[in-house]
Symmetry: D2
Subunit: 464 residues, 4 copies
Amino acid sequence: MRTLISGGIVVTASGSQPADVLVDGERIHAVVEPGTDPASWQADRVIDATDRYVIPGGIDGHTHMEMPFGGTFSVDDFASGTRAAAWGGTTTIVDFAVQKKGTSLRETLDTWHGKADGKCAIDYGFHMIVSDVNEQTLKEMDALGGEGISSFKLFMAYPGVFYATDGEILQAMQHASDSGALIMMHAENGIAIDVLVGQALSRGHTDPRYHGITRPPDLEGEATSRAIKLAGVAGAPLYIVHLSCDEALTAVAMARTEGRRVFAETCPQYLFLTDDAMAGPGFEGAKYVCSPPLRPSWHLPKLWNGLRTDALSVVSTDHCPFCFNEEKQLGQGDFAKIPNGIPGVEHRVDLVYQGVVAGEISLARWVEVLSTTPARMFGLYPKKGEIAAGSDADIVIYDPRARQTLSARTHHMAVDYSAYEGREITGRVQTVLSRGRVILDDGRYDGAEGHGQFLSRSTCQLLG
Amino acid sequence: MRTLISGGIVVTASGSQPADVLVDGERIHAVVEPGTDPASWQADRVIDATDRYVIPGGIDGHTHMEMPFGGTFSVDDFASGTRAAAWGGTTTIVDFAVQKKGTSLRETLDTWHGKADGKCAIDYGFHMIVSDVNEQTLKEMDALGGEGISSFKLFMAYPGVFYATDGEILQAMQHASDSGALIMMHAENGIAIDVLVGQALSRGHTDPRYHGITRPPDLEGEATSRAIKLAGVAGAPLYIVHLSCDEALTAVAMARTEGRRVFAETCPQYLFLTDDAMAGPGFEGAKYVCSPPLRPSWHLPKLWNGLRTDALSVVSTDHCPFCFNEEKQLGQGDFAKIPNGIPGVEHRVDLVYQGVVAGEISLARWVEVLSTTPARMFGLYPKKGEIAAGSDADIVIYDPRARQTLSARTHHMAVDYSAYEGREITGRVQTVLSRGRVILDDGRYDGAEGHGQFLSRSTCQLLG
Amino acid sequence: MRTLISGGIVVTASGSQPADVLVDGERIHAVVEPGTDPASWQADRVIDATDRYVIPGGIDGHTHMEMPFGGTFSVDDFASGTRAAAWGGTTTIVDFAVQKKGTSLRETLDTWHGKADGKCAIDYGFHMIVSDVNEQTLKEMDALGGEGISSFKLFMAYPGVFYATDGEILQAMQHASDSGALIMMHAENGIAIDVLVGQALSRGHTDPRYHGITRPPDLEGEATSRAIKLAGVAGAPLYIVHLSCDEALTAVAMARTEGRRVFAETCPQYLFLTDDAMAGPGFEGAKYVCSPPLRPSWHLPKLWNGLRTDALSVVSTDHCPFCFNEEKQLGQGDFAKIPNGIPGVEHRVDLVYQGVVAGEISLARWVEVLSTTPARMFGLYPKKGEIAAGSDADIVIYDPRARQTLSARTHHMAVDYSAYEGREITGRVQTVLSRGRVILDDGRYDGAEGHGQFLSRSTCQLLG
Amino acid sequence: MRTLISGGIVVTASGSQPADVLVDGERIHAVVEPGTDPASWQADRVIDATDRYVIPGGIDGHTHMEMPFGGTFSVDDFASGTRAAAWGGTTTIVDFAVQKKGTSLRETLDTWHGKADGKCAIDYGFHMIVSDVNEQTLKEMDALGGEGISSFKLFMAYPGVFYATDGEILQAMQHASDSGALIMMHAENGIAIDVLVGQALSRGHTDPRYHGITRPPDLEGEATSRAIKLAGVAGAPLYIVHLSCDEALTAVAMARTEGRRVFAETCPQYLFLTDDAMAGPGFEGAKYVCSPPLRPSWHLPKLWNGLRTDALSVVSTDHCPFCFNEEKQLGQGDFAKIPNGIPGVEHRVDLVYQGVVAGEISLARWVEVLSTTPARMFGLYPKKGEIAAGSDADIVIYDPRARQTLSARTHHMAVDYSAYEGREITGRVQTVLSRGRVILDDGRYDGAEGHGQFLSRSTCQLLG
């Protein structure tokens, strides 16, 4: 099966120029000057990309499909979640396998393979959440590298569930320093936060907006600094997930300036939404409850600046959808019981493109933070993250002038609300190829469960 | 004329993978999965690049060929200088046209076209040094954009020659803010330096090493900070040339963290040499006299770190050769009369590669700071700076395992000494194509004066 | 003549406690536990200070009496100005002798002695403004130390009038480094400012508020940083006068943290007034034109914080009064012609006390920034700046509960407006002693021209 | 009983001048100009202080007398420890009452009153170490203010013994924010340190020097930053005890610059000793084991600079003596079992005076960091910390020219070694008065157990 993507403007992390892309089977065979004769290439299919951007498919390095939470699960499974991702121009996700305390990482990985196998519309990999740092799991961390798991997430929050002590974190980092694995950190001081949460509840402050008030930026900044220092002691690189505020950003930027190997991602919700959302009428605020929480508006331009300067290297979604009329209702009368998470896997490419429209970032940077850097960060390059001969034909054809309105009525995630309901935006995913297969074209979805394959990832390619 | 570069590893600013490169005439026609049949491509010539890196030709954004200096000239003219560049894997230079006080920018540009026209082995562009900031030249700055001159250099040093006052700098920046031109700054406080120089000479401190002592890092850091603040007032982007020390680097890094549009380059001499060189026996130190001066060794790891974090975006050479046995002798008995400059255009690609060997930077970053970013910074992308369909076939085939020894006996610059004499290094330029023409291959030079063309540059492509 | 100040609370830079103060002639003879029997002390006079603070008389280290300006003079001469100071609880001023270009420092000092001799109500010293840095004046700087002139002010603004180049500044600092003199700096980049001023005027922006707009904080911050770096090169301590904005404050705070010997003063106008004042109706804004200009309100809490942490060590007034209906009118239609200056010598003690009332600073810090530190900074301690046996009996008895309203109708400065017109404040100077003589008591002034003596000052006592 | 201290130079936190000091009973009655006639004052005793400094007695805010440790006690009890303090010019200590887990603060205070009552040669107060933060102790913290306990120490190290979680710390800070109490923090990340300690021991790294290696500066800097952020969340002031390294100092300096109410003390051992001491021959290093550990030499000038700029406000000793031939031997073969602590209460005044001799700090600053600021910090001013009428007659007469050699053979602490053995220094305590009683004079000790009284302290006087 040969495809010719003709007449488009290929955008990479460095810039753009017109070129044709020749796809042979699952891979890009060549990138060629415009004007390719379909016959000479014996194309089975020609896609006209005139006036469109041809970009590497998005890589969302932070999703939670079918994630167990308090007896229930996040409402997108690997089937619906990866289909929604495809609709939004994302062709790879790296999801989190979640160790349950008392179980092995080995079992955990098997469980997650079981969830994803045969279900995914696009390729996928796994990070591993380590909930139980001990002799056994430290050894397993070293071993799992051979199975394509090269990144491990720890939590400085959620005591009793995911929380790791500073000593456990240090040990995990030391192992990572030896193996080349990447430690990912949820950096909020959960011990202090839980005191504030308890105090708020005891005062009858139970509305969703207290979720934000009890998780102040200082406690994210603090934990971020601490993680950086611990990584320095261990000699390990560090990746801060879902950075939301200036305090944490400053810690990362200063550490990088000092020469420390620290990276950070932010998410669309922190670039576009503010804490006002949590103070909406009635229980509406629950839709916007995630951790770290949405921040006051003055943080947003700081984050955009961080995205320009590489203090923030990646935009992921932390996609973790719960229905407003179902799971989110668990937190009626107690904000601490609201399942944390915002749906987003479908809108990352479009939302970050609004930064291009607004002049916040360049076209090249858009591709870099959504695809090329995630590929390099998580050991997938050049198979993923690039429009280049030899790379997988994970390709998005993007219409930069189309207009659309985001809404739960039209999105494809299995969740009953949109955090961006009614937002009008510019730009739209027109066509998506996953390993050479056209899975979306002009509003027609043609993906298949099971088409997506597990990606065995190498170690981080941004070091040294 | 069709060329096939076969079996190599293509390295871009994002990473590397095996690919064949098809060159048709002056441009890259396609980048293709390995295994291309030369016949199918009707190749006139096949270059075997097995086990070699295939990289975009180097772009040296800071050279001074045949630069007038005190009645004489820097000893490489555009013929010898661009030939030496080609030997070293550089396929584009951006040289400085130097306004003489009292002349127009128009005349200056004509003069420099006269110097370069028909002489260059590789393509070239011009920045413009503005020595005389006034109503007339400010208008000319705006006009020269139309002739491909999109960057203008000002000096905070050398009163009476190049020095511009803060008021003149501010006005030039205001014009640049409107036109999109890039202001490049030589950031040393020359007014204060000249006091120190006069004091040193009056005390009989005439040896070359006093060149360094009278230009302390604080006065480069100061000027860098000042330029950044003036650019902020003017709302203009800023490019700091030949940054040499931690004080200046910190100023740049902090400004970037604050969101200011500031860029900086460093040079190989600041990454590899120290102020000890100026204190060599006899008059040897004169070989190493350049401005800013070489710095104490503790600055070097800071600069390498800056190169990793993008506080330093570019490595240029500031190539400005004077013969030790001729021009440099003018400074016998008075270090202030030593012509400032170090030869380097031939060794930039090789020297910075030593940073890859040492683990300081990645392969991808090597290509980025030497070619891709200079192309974007100076408005040459994607014509230059990329291995991609449609780009100029400016290509270097690099042998990463060869060993060589740098020496004046073997280099091709028209200067009688090497600042790196006897240094053994790993890696070597094997083959160089300039717009499709093989001008160097395995130690045989086949370039031609006049092959190189003037490049009309657009504005900086790293903004917004 | 023996005086007993009985029953008050003595406040020093460290704290406060009840004590009686015994004054014998011009000096404090003893500080004694409360309850002194006037007879045992053979007191000629007893002042009841019950419920009052007994503090060392204020020292205003920055005044401009009878300062020549464009053919006219600031409107307070040494008689009216020092009388107003006394009314406000200030018992020492250090005024600026202003070198006219082309004259010697010797002549300048003689001229200023002539102005002040026999006129002052309180003791006074001189700093020297050096307008003409050259071989001759550098030598004179060294010599004037012997005549009690230990501090020299330079300007980075006002080219053609006071402006010194960075080279001249460096040389003056080198001399100061040797002699122990203190360099005081007006830190604004006047070269860049003059460009902005010219541009504003050419656009018809002639109103007073453009005075502020053309002197942006970045250009004060820049000059402050530059002065600090130059002082570092010279190895000299540095005192920044009238610091007005966060940019400059941050530069000072960082320099101090790095261990540099840098001090700064601010003025009441920067602590209490904002740039809104310059945008008043009609020409009202001219009343508030001073340099650096008043700043946006967000700078004010930063300055208060600097005052707490010692980044700001001193509050002086920069008292430089011009009548609104006379001299200020010179700037009608051209803000650049408005004489720069705000009257303030009378209100410094009262205004800064409002910071105590508001909880911004402690009682002890009030005394420290108004009296003790200026005494130490300018070489007057322990003769001045302290309530202690042996110190001059320059004493203020302060009523912390009185209320008063500031107004031109009631003030004693020879100027026709108040920058604080109508402001109601808490606290009031009740009694003032100058070298043992009661010159103000409960609204009755009993000072005398010529009572005040010239103070020969030693070098800064805050170093080492 | 009336005493006249005649002819000395009184030194305060602001400066010095000659004055006589009249002591009546326990208090200073007056400070008078020199030349007092003993008869007029009816002096029972005259102390000639000619050419001597007369300073307020030292206040050591951090001692551990008879501190329980692993079944034994620090070897100075309140009798021997306060006597040694007196020998060294310290007239007040604030010791730590140490809550044992499971006991109340009430009991703890009673126990410590029992230890000190009738034993002390000089006045004393207590801070309280809170080992068990819970509902009960939080209430007790509030209540103890009424008994003169206004400062509470928490530990971020020593899990299982003193360690408080971040949540407990936050709660204690919230209580302090309400009550005005001061939280004192041992800021080392003990959780991470214990991992490093365990790893070192498991590798057979048991020598004393591993004590330092397993407590890296980054983990003190981290904990300091964290404590500052937690205090910010709670709105409470913070006092960092025994700050030892640049990382922590920078955190404090930055916080102060931002306007946070953070204070820090350092100790003589961090100003004069380095980590080399822990690597001494045999088991010698054990003498120098304290926490935080001694640091590499480059930290020392940073600490001196911090002392000049007030980032460090206080020098205390952390006096915690264990005999080398007894208790310290517990750590043979396991550095983690070496009792932590260095004896020092006797030498603080003398050692810090060496900073005056070396030009690091001024005479006034010497008095400030040793006496005046500790008095204000811990709510003892003006009773203590000042030479002023009404203050306690805690006075030291200091001979600035005497020479002495520190040695265990001559010191008065009940410990068998000196951390400064053989060090020759300039300056010596000549005479010491405690509440008017001469307890040391020219090498004759005349103090008495039980003379010292408990000091009920108010809240910190440096706030607001």
